[in-house]
């Protein structure tokens, strides 16, 4: 294994497809969505899990506890589900401060309350000093999906619009800078937040909403590449329309990183039918988490499977899936 296998990009997808799907494959797992969709006694249940290994565990704008709740809530929300309950597993390193663990648990509780979910079950394991980097957290979650709701790449059509609920790359850059290895002084906060209300508001538009995703690891570029591949269509982004904070643009420029590949933890990307796109935009902008929402692109019939970017400069290029972790350039 290399770190690239955990980056959320091509190597991660290759590992999941060639190893986990081969060994564990079944009809529930195979769609590889943000959540699995189960039919239980006539109810449609979304079921998801995610692990959190962020370093540092407390960063500007949030901490690992809040992140672990919001991340799983968001995976449920973009599957069209109303989040109901979460589990929380704590892997704690020997020597970790109990007071710190309490602060993080309290932070989880606040996030759970804000998202309207209960942490209904949990587990604690302690490992020897030197393992687990202080604290790792796993959360799983279940939510209820309304009858008749269908979301997915197969429902996307040429001409549909791509909407983004806010600025790109805030979480990834905030954490990268908080590590203090870069000698950059930038005031930037993670965007960690639950997007379930944004999702619910969009889903009131019914069939016009085709596809939802929260662009976390691998960023917007990776999420849209997966869409282009699944839907066998092209996604064309408009560079000038992408909402970006100047701090993120500046830090990315210095480090040679493309904000399209940087992780977000409180954003929603939606594909919506063209006739409903303005209404969808207004709905996003009407919510405090969606104030910077924008229509950032559209779906085209070809070139199949590719994400394109019309540059602000007047040219165009393709936006590939992330390969490995973004490596900073040297000169």
């Amino acid at each position: 294994m290399t770190l690239a296998h955990g980056s959320g990009g091509k190597a991660t997808r290759a590992l999941v497809e060639s190893l986990f799907l081969e060994e564990l494959g079944n009809p529930l797992l195979e769609p590889l969505g943000d959540s699995a969709l189960l039919e239980l006694n006539g109810s449609r249940v979304a079921f998801t899990t995610d692990s959190y290994v962020v370093k540092p565990i407390v960063f500007p704008g949030g901490d690992i506890g809040e992140l672990a709740v919001n991340g799983t809530v968001n995976d449920l929300a973009v599957s069209g589900a109303k989040p109901v309950a979460l589990s929380a597993g704590f892997l704690v390193e020997e020597g970790f401060e109990i007071a710190e663990l309490r602060r993080l648990a309290a932070s989880m509780a606040r996030a759970a309350k804000a998202a309207g979910v209960a942490v209904a079950t949990g587990d604690t394991k302690v490992v020897e000093r030197g393992k687990a980097d202080g604290l790792y957290v796993n959360t799983a979650g279940i939510g209820l999906v309304p009858t008749g709701l269908e979301l997915g790449g197969e429902r996307v059509r040429p001409g549909d619009r791509v909407l983004l609920s806010g600025t790109l790359g805030d979480h990834g850059m905030a954490v990268m800078i908080a590590r203090g290895e870069l000698a950059l002084e930038v005031e930037l906060e993670s965007d960690t937040a639950p997007v379930h209300e944004l999702a619910a508001s969009l889903l009131e538009l019914g069939d016009a909403v085709r596809w939802l995703r929260d662009p976390t690891r691998g960023g917007l570029a990776t999420a849209l590449n997966e869409l282009a591949e699944d839907a066998r269509l092209a996604v064309a982004l408009e560079e000038a329309a992408l909402p970006l904070r100047p701090e993120v643009v500046g830090a990315c420029e210095i480090l040679g990183i493309d904000p399209l590949y940087v992780a977000n933890e409180g954003k929603l990307v939606a594909v919506v039918a063209p006739e409903a796109s303005e209404e969808a935009l207004e709905r996003l902008r009407g919510h405090e988490l969606g104030a910077d929402a924008a229509i950032v692109g559209e779906i085209r019939a070809d070139p199949e499977g590719l994400v394109l970017l019309d540059t602000a400069f007047g040219g165009s290029r393709i936006v590939d899936m992330l390969v490995g972790d973004p490596l900073p350039r040297i000169c």
Binding site: M1, G314, R317, I318, D320, G324, R329, I330, C331
Partner: protein, 373 residues
């Protein structure tokens, strides 16, 4: 964002594009080599190729410092990194470059202590923090990055830091350009010369291209508008029958370069008799090594290295890409056996390598380009 947006103005770009239209002769191709990988990256990232008429053909040169490091030197780096007493510090780009025995990233996964740094000074700091370990810095790059290595060596000596050394692979930009100009059958009309290297060495080192080979040169900055302006300047020279070294990057570059940086280089490093370039072979006086006075900080003097020469993979055509003889997609393994996930040749590794830039950004064919499916 200030200092960025003004160099990426779409309207100005259209104006320059229209001027370029008026300067080309329909049907007569002008081949312009952008020497530096930074230019290649900018051309593809901003879609500059789509703004110029098809008569303007960008040929991607050898100026990607990661791309030109031969596989044997990567193996030497891995051998250093695998020593239990060594902390091996490298720029991020070098981590994925394959040698004969895999990459530094793979060595790291096998437990070698490889750390990514942004500056040689960060490596020196690592040495201070780990007094019981040997910190070796993988020094690569043209005259752009070499002065930072030089200043770090001077500081290590001044502060008496004894557990720091540099594995020096710094190269110089002049000799490979001459090698390319001397290669048989090459047809190039003009050069976009690198900007950042020139902040150090100035514009004089390119004068031989004008004097001996009769090709116009424009030293150019890295924003897409800079590149379009350089194309205008080169086309004007060709049209007016002039042949000069012009400086587009006047906001930073001086004819004599940066004397203090050159002094630091002179004090710490000297030319090697010869050095192997990936794809280009051995080129005389094309690289730097530490002076004997700095042997205590020279990883090559302090550690036993395998020093084996590793043949480039047979299928790889990086050499022909690097001299502009073929386009990235004309290589027989481009996009099939050789991709950014599993690069065979180094042009596919760094985002500034011609193949990776083309693979990542450019696979939208221009009308006259033929790209195999």
């Amino acid at each position: 964002m200030r200092y960025v947006d003004e160099f990426r103005d779409g309207e100005l770009a259209q104006k320059l594009a229209r001027e370029i239209e008026t300067l080309v002769e329909p049907g007569r191709e002008v081949k312009i080599m952008e020497v530096c990988g930074g230019h290649t990256h900018a051309i593809y990232k901003h879609g500059v190729e789509h703004l110029v008429p098809t008569e303007v053909d960008f040929v991607h040169g050898p100026g990607c410092p990661v791309c030109v490091i031969p596989m044997g030197r990567v193996d030497d780096a891995i051998a250093l990194a695998e020593r239990p007493d060594v902390v091996f510090a490298t720029f991020g780009d070098m981590m994925r470059v394959p040698g004969g025995r895999g990459s530094l990233l793979e060595a790291k996964a096998r437990d070698a202590d490889v750390r990514m740094v942004y500056s040689p000074l960060d490596a020196l700091e690592l040495a201070r923090q780990n007094p019981d370990r040997e910190v070796v810095f993988f020094a690569i790059g043209f005259e752009t990055t070499a002065p930072a290595t030089a200043l770090t060596l001077l500081r290590a000596r001044a502060e008496g830091v004894r557990n720091f050394s540099a594995f020096c692979n710094h190269v110089t930009i002049g000799p490979p350009l001459r090698a390319i100009l001397d290669s048989p059958g090459l047809r190039l009309d003009a050069f976009i010369a690198p900007g950042h290297v020139s902040t150090v060495i100035g514009t004089r080192p390119y004068e031989f291209i004008v004097d001996e080979y009769d090709k116009p040169v424009v030293v150019t900055a890295f924003e897409p508008l800079d590149i379009l302006q350089a194309v205008v300047m080169l086309l004007r020279q060709l049209r007016e029958g002039r042949c000069e070294v012009e400086n587009q990057y006047t906001r930073v570059v001086r004819r004599d370069g940066n004397p203090r940086a050159l002094e630091a280089l002179e004090e710490t490093m000297e030319l090697r008799d010869t050095f192997e370039w990936r794809g280009l072979g051995w080129i005389g006086h094309s690289a730097l090594k530490l002076r004997p006075e700095f042997a205590d900080w020279d990883a090559e003097a302090r550690f036993e290295l395998p020093g084996d020469r590793v043949e480039d993979p047979k299928a790889c055509q990086c050499g022909e890409v690097l001299i502009g003889a073929i386009k990235p997609w004309e290589c027989r393994v481009f996009g099939t056996a050789c991709t950014p996930e599993r690069p065979i040749g180094t042009c596919m590794v760094s985002s500034e390598g011609a193949c990776a830039a083309y693979y990542n950004y450019g696979r939208l064919a221009r009308p006259r380009d033929t790209v195999p499916a």
